[in-house]
């Protein structure tokens, strides 16, 4: 049975049809029709399967007959198909059934084997206790293998190509491959699905946890929390602390950071940085926090400190400071802590108060000052360790205070709020008697102690180079004596501040016990320091107080003056404090100078005597001031408040104080604030009045002048001090005043002693003072002397230092300045020295005054100088006068010299005539080689060499030029090579280069104004001229011109082809063609070739001369062509000219020939035309001949005769006869026609 596939059926075919159709060849068992339809249901393919019982022969027949036969509109395609799967399935089933029938036989076979094996001792294919490899007896192919297993030996048929056909596989030899499978180990039991999950064995790290699906518990949102914290009290407090710490970053340490808190701290840090500007809200919050939690801050601060993070610029040194500061800060901040820390209860109060004072002061002080103080505090604290506890505490306080100040307004506010709390507790509890003044004093003392601590270690101050320089400058200007100036300054400031204490009572109401004061007095050093501090703070704080209060205070003062006697020393202290305050001010003004002075102060502080001396001096000053005030204050409205204060003090001392006078002074005091702007000049005036004072003032002035930037601040300070001073005059509470009186009296006496030789005014004052001295004069005198001695030593030291400074600076300046200036300065200082020498015997003060006076002359205005001179005159001091005269003289010299210098400088920068020009420059260079040394000065004589040099230069230039030429040559060479390279490589590039010159023809217009275009005109004229010159001869030529133009036209066409880039090959082919044509023509006509050949050759020659393209264009038309040629570039125009010129000649020659030709036959013209046509292609070639140019071979051919002359003649005759016959024939025809026409 076969199954046939029948394809290509039409859709109409039915199974029956198929059956019938195939029935012829065999019995059709089954027909299956299938129709493929596209999605729309349209049948596009129909085929069928036919199961047919057919023999091979019939099948063949069937295929041959029916295959590819057309049936019902379709072409049958019959192929033998596979059996239908149903049929195959049935077959398989049948087979399997058959196999089943056969199996029992196989089983029997197996059973036999087993039996035989068992006979051989094999049980269940295992043979126990058998060595592997032993054969089973009776069974050839069975072998015992590992574990006693009996295995068959396999015969494997090897693949083709291998040598042995069969491979024998003996399992016993591979027994090591056999492994025993224990049934028990095989996991038969199905594990429940739940246990099928497996666990990832991971570490404890987060990622693995998360992978396992364990997520850490939700952490609180940190930033939010911190924010809320801020609202709460604790964090609120932290804020300020942090901000503080941040501002003074260097004071904080990294060491305290805890790891766990670190991050939080950082966050806060960032926030704080943002909050540096401190919003009001925050401030309020902070203040509230401060009030509510007094105790907590410390602990929290500690914690906070641990969290701090510091930048890279953080310094280890400052960090050390920071530790201390932190503690200090804590102590300072909370009163309780503070109290607990203080060892002596008596001093507790002192220490309590200072912060308040500081707070007050803090409000008023400038930021500059704060910063400076802060720095100094830091420095102090470094060295605090050595000092005793008291000092430590005191020292810490200021630093803390400063920190607070630095922190910002919030803190200040806080403190101010704290103050009320603190004050009552401290002051009221401790003190029975509450005098305003006393309280103030105590406060002052406390503050002073702080201040003292601040400056206790200033000797160790590190002064930067810049500071040193500044200092040196100051010293220079002051002339040698820095120390006196310093002293003077101290005096002045003392005068400024003595009245401080009085000022404070107004705002503050507290009282310090007198006992404490006495204690303070006893402790000389510490007390002094404290006082100083007090003064400073008071000075700071007092600034805001209005002058008006001063009047009231004055009244009070007058009333209180006579009260307490025992406080005479306080005044001194106050003065001392004033010094200190002054120092402070100066510090603020200029760090360096202040530092120096601080050192001095420290020295002075060492002993009370020295201080007392200073006090005495101050008192003296006061006395003098008093005198001055009486006499001159009225005249000088612009007097400093300082002086007035002093005068007030003096009034107190005098006891002759009249309230009226005081009031007047107060009024003056009132005035000064207005005049404060002029403070400096006024100070000068004041100093003039009291020379000592003047010295100090002058010093200050100098400082001010030098440190221009500091001026403003200083003035401010002065103003403040003035403000304080004015109230201070009022403030003098009775006790204070009385004591001062006494002391001042003593001081006055001393001053009198000292100044006996000094001004008459002073003497008068002293006289006034004398009666009051009575009390402690003797003691004071002793002290004073000692102090004087020390001070002298110190002053001398100072002088030495100053001199050193001067020298240093001079040395430095000598290089810069002209020698004159230096000399002048030197003279000035020399005079000072002399004065000093002369005054060795005399008092210091005098000397100082002199020096100061000299300084005045140097630096003060003309007014001051005049006044000074007046003072001197009154003094009648010869020494002074001398000194001053010297100074004066030296002064002008100084400045005059400088003026001269200036002039010189002006001229110096002009270019001197000998240095002008190039030679001059060289000369200058020559000279500069030797510097300004006179010995090696170079004249213009030395320039002669330069000329030689010039010649040399010229030579070198020549060589250079030669080199350049060489290079040029080389360049040309390389370019030529380049051309060759490029030319060989790209011929097109060359042509392209030429093509560039080609320009649009239509763009060119005839311009008569252009000379180049004249060529076009001239041609015609020339032609005309020629024609005119020889009309008869050239008539013919003129007639023949058109012929000439024809030829040119052909040239043009050839050029165009070249322009359009025809390749060589083409041209060659054309040439060949042409040759071929020529040959044909030659065959046709010999003579014409002879004539045409020259025609061809001539244009080619012409082309050599011209650039080809243009020439061709000109040829186009004789007249119109001229315009077209203009389309070419200007360069191209010349070519046409030539062509123009040449054309006639060419025409001439050709025309002559042609004339000859014309004689011969009419047909010649036709032939020429043909020849020219033939010529055309030849022109497509390059204009220039190249080695294998066909033209070179063809050209000569045109001259030669191709065939022998006789042959040609024969040919010609043959042709001639033929032609004649034809001619006759035609003639006859024509005649016939004529006759016929005539007939008709």
């Amino acid at each position: 049975m076969r199954r046939l596939y029948v394809g290509g059926l039409s859709h109409t075919v039915t199974e029956k049809d198929l059956k019938d159709r195939f029935g012829k060849f065999g019995a059709v068992e089954d027909v299956e029709l299938r129709t493929r339809k596209d999605p729309e249901g349209v049948p596009f393919k129909t085929f069928g399967y036919v199961n047919i019982n057919i023999s091979d022969a019939d099948l063949k027949k069937c295929l041959t007959v029916l295959n590819k036969s057309k049936w019902k509109g379709g072409t049958l395609q019959i192929e033998i198909a596979k059996e239908s799967f149903l049929h195959r399935l049935a077959q398989e089933r049948q087979e399997s059934v058959e196999q089943h029938l056969q199996q029992p036989a196989a089983e029997d076979k197996r059973q036999k084997l087993l039996d035989s094996l068992s006979k051989a001792g094999v049980d269940n294919f295992t043979m126990k206790s058998a060595v592997p490899g032993t054969e089973i007896p009776g069974h050839k192919d069975w072998v015992v293998s590992k574990f006693g297993r009996v295995l068959p030996i396999l015969q494997l048929r090897s693949q083709k190509g291998s040598k042995s056909r069969n491979l024998k596989y003996d399992p016993s030899k591979y027994s090591h491959n056999i492994r025993k499978l224990d049934r028990n180990t095989i996991p038969d039991e199905a594990t429940p699905v739940t246990q099928l999950t497996w666990e990832v064995q991971g570490g404890d790290d987060e990622i693995s946890k998360k992978r396992r699906g364990e997520f850490p518990p939700c952490e609180p949102w940190r930033p939010k929390k911190s924010r809320t914290d801020n609202v709460s009290g604790r964090t609120r407090f932290e804020h300020p602390v942090n901000s503080v710490n941040r501002t003074e970053g260097h004071q904080l340490t990294n060491g305290f950071e805890k790891q766990n808190n670190h991050r939080l701290a950082q966050k806060k840090w960032t926030r704080f940085t943002d909050n540096d500007a401190d919003s009001e809200e925050e401030i309020r919050r902070l203040v509230a926090a401060q009030q509510t939690s007094h105790v907590t801050p410390q602990q929290q601060e500690v914690e906070e400190d641990n969290l701090e993070v510091v930048g890279y610029d953080f310094l280890a040194k400052s960090a050390c400071i920071g530790d201390q500061d932190k503690d200090d800060y804590d102590s300072a901040d909370t009163d309780e802590l503070f109290a607990s820390r203080k060892p002596p209860p008596a001093k507790c109060q002192e220490k309590h108060t200072p912060p308040t004072a500081e707070h007050l002061s803090g409000n008023n002080t400038d930021k500059k000052r704060k910063t400076k103080k802060k720095r100094k505090a830091g420095e102090q604290e470094e060295e605090d360790g050595s000092t005793d506890d008291e000092e430590h505490l005191t020292s810490r306080k200021p630093s803390c205070v400063q920190q607070k100040r630095d922190s910002s307004e919030q803190k200040l506010n806080k403190k101010t709020r704290d103050l009320p709390v603190v004050r009552p507790s401290s002051s009221e509890s401790d003190r029975d008697e509450e005098d305003e003044g006393d309280e103030v004093d105590s406060v002052d003392s406390c503050s002073d102690s702080d201040y003292e601590a601040m400056f206790s270690n200033i000797t160790h101050l590190e002064i930067s180079l810049a500071d040193l320089q500044r200092l040196a400058e100051a010293a220079q200007q002051n002339s040698k004596t820095v120390a006196p100036s310093f002293l003077g300054a101290g005096l002045e400031q003392e005068t400024l501040f003595p009245s401080f204490p009085a000022e404070q009572p107004a705002p503050k109401k507290g009282s310090t016990p007198e006992e404490i004061l006495a204690m303070i007095m006893e402790d000389d050093s510490s007390e002094d320091e404290q006082k100083k501090k007090k003064r400073k703070r008071q000075a700071v704080t007092s600034a805001p107080l209005p002058a008006f209060q001063g009047t009231k205070a004055l009244n009070e003062v007058s009333e209180d003056e006579e009260e307490d006697d025992g406080r005479g020393r306080e005044v001194k202290k106050q003065k001392m404090n004033a010094d200190s305050t002054q120092l402070v001010h100066k510090e603020t003004d200029s760090k360096t100078i202040t530092s120096v002075r601080d050192q001095n102060h420290a020295e002075t502080k060492i002993s009370d005597s020295s201080e007392q001396e200073e006090d005495d001096d101050e008192e003296e000053d006061d006395e003098s001031d008093d005198g001055d005030d009486d006499e001159e204050d009225e005249s000088d409205d612009g007097d400093d408040e300082d002086e007035e204060d002093e005068s007030d003090d003096g009034d107190d001392e005098d006891e002759s104080d009249e309230e009226e006078e005081e009031k007047g002074k107060i009024i003056k005091d009132m005035v000064p604030p207005d005049v404060l702007k002029k403070v400096t000049t006024k100070v000068c005036v004041n100093t003039e009045k009291a020379e000592t004072e003047s010295s100090s003032s002058s010093e200050e002035e100098e400082e001010e002048v030098k440190q221009g930037r500091v001026n403003s601040s200083q003035i401010v300070v002065n103003v403040k001090s003035a403000g304080k001073a004015s109230p201070s005059s009022c403030s003098s509470s009775g006790k204070d005043k009385n004591e001062p009186q006494v002391i001042s009296a003593k001081g006055g006496v001393k001053a009198a002693l000292n100044r006996e030789t000094s001004t008459s005014e002073e003497e008068e004052e002293e006289e006034l003072a004398l009666p009051r001295m009575a009390l402690g004069v003797e003691e004071e005198e002793e002290r004073q002397r000692q102090a004087n001695m020390r001070r002298l030593a110190a002053v001398q030291q100072r002088q030495k230092e100053a001199e050193e400074h001067k020298k240093l600076i001079q040395g430095a300046l000598a290089n810069l300045d002209a020698p004159v200036a230096g000399a002048g300065k030197h003279i000035v200082f020399g005079s000072d020295d002399e004065e000093d020498d002369g005054n060795d015997d005399g008092d210091q003060q005098r000397m100082d005054s002199e020096v100061l006076a000299s300084r005045k002359t140097l630096f003060q205005d003309g007014q001051s100088e005049d006044e000074a001179t007046g003072d001197e005159a009154t003094a009648n001091k010869s020494v002074k006068v001398k000194a001053e005269m010297r100074l004066k003289s030296s002064g002008p010299q100084l400045f005059g010299g400088s003026d001269d210098e200036d002039e010189e400088d002006g001229s110096r920068f002009d270019i001197k005539p000998q240095f002008e020009g190039q030679a001059g420059q060289k000369l200058m260079a020559l000279q500069s080689r030797f510097g300004t040394d006179e010995r090696f000065r170079m004249d213009s004589r030395f320039l002669e060499e330069d000329e030689e040099v010039k010649e040399e230069d010229a030579e070198t230039k020549k060589t250079l030029v030669e080199d350049d030429e060489d290079l040029e040559e080389e360049k040309k060479k390389t370019l030529s090579i380049l051309q060759s390279v490029l030319g060989q490589q790209h011929c097109s590039s060359k042509t392209a280069g030429k093509a560039k010159k080609f320009k649009d023809v239509s763009a060119l217009h005839y311009d008569p104004s252009k000379e180049e275009h004249a060529a076009f005109e001239t041609k015609k004229e020339e032609v005309k001229k020629e024609s005119k010159a020889a009309r008869k001869k050239k008539r013919e030529e003129a007639q023949k011109l058109p012929e000439v133009s024809k030829e040119i036209y052909y040239d043009v066409s050839g050029d165009l082809k070249t322009v359009f880039g025809q390749s060589k090959d083409e041209t060659d082919q054309q040439e060949e063609k042409m040759n071929w044509d020529q040959k044909e023509e030659e065959e046709e006509r010999k003579e014409k070739e002879e004539e045409s050949a020259p025609l061809l050759s001539v244009p080619s020659v012409e082309k050599e001369d011209l650039c080809g393209f243009k020439f061709s264009f000109f040829g186009d038309d004789t007249e119109t062509g001229s315009k077209e040629t203009a389309d070419y570039k200007v360069e191209a125009i010349q070519a046409p000219k030539v062509s123009w010129h040449q054309d006639p000649r060419f025409h001439d020659s050709s025309s002559e020939e042609e004339e000859d030709e014309q004689e011969e036959d009419e047909e010649q013209s036709n032939t020429t035309a043909k020849t020219t046509e033939v010529v055309m292609p030849s022109h497509t070639e390059f204009f220039f001949f190249y080695p294998d140019d066909d033209r070179l071979t063809d050209g000569p051919k045109s001259f030669w005769r191709v065939s022998e002359l006789e042959e040609q003649r024969e040919q010609w005759e043959e042709r001639r006869s033929a032609l004649r016959q034809e001619y006759r024939k035609k003639h006859k025809d024509a005649r016939r026609k004529l006759t016929s026409s005539l007939k008709s």
Binding site: L960, D963, K971, I977, S980, V981, S989
Partner: protein, 180 residues
Amino acid sequence: MRPLTEEETKTMFEKLSKYIGENIKLLVDRPDGVYCFRLHHDRVYYMSEKILKLATNFSRDKLMSVGTCFGKFTKTKKFRLHITALDFLAPYAKFKVWVKPGTEQSFLYGNHVLKSGLGRITENTMQYQGVVVYSMADVPLGFGVAAKSTQECRRVDPMSIVVFHQADVGEFIRNEETLT
């Protein structure tokens, strides 16, 4: 140090002209001064007249290099272009090939440029035409030779070589000792 002989000049120009064609003229004939080629230790240096004169002060054996090295003459008297000439040739390059960013590195390591890495190519590039290889950011990376013409490049499979590597700026690092 001596000027090139005619032969050498020709060889070099032929090589250069593969990359910049007749633009060599711009190198030889510069408006900003006289520039010239000099042979020194088999290497061709391109330098200004100024530097040339300065260089005359040094003895031949002491002179490492002058001006810009354009390439060297091999022992077989062929001219081999060095990457140092890139700065002078790149601006005048007639045929350029831009490589994709991924292929940049491959090229800079001395590999040929495959079709897959070819970002852009100048049209009408002939086979074996010298090209300057650029990154897509128009940074010249080196020299190459077109392995396929532009037309062929369009058809070839992505793994076929399109540009043969000649020199690349990576040589500044790789061949630092030989580049002078």
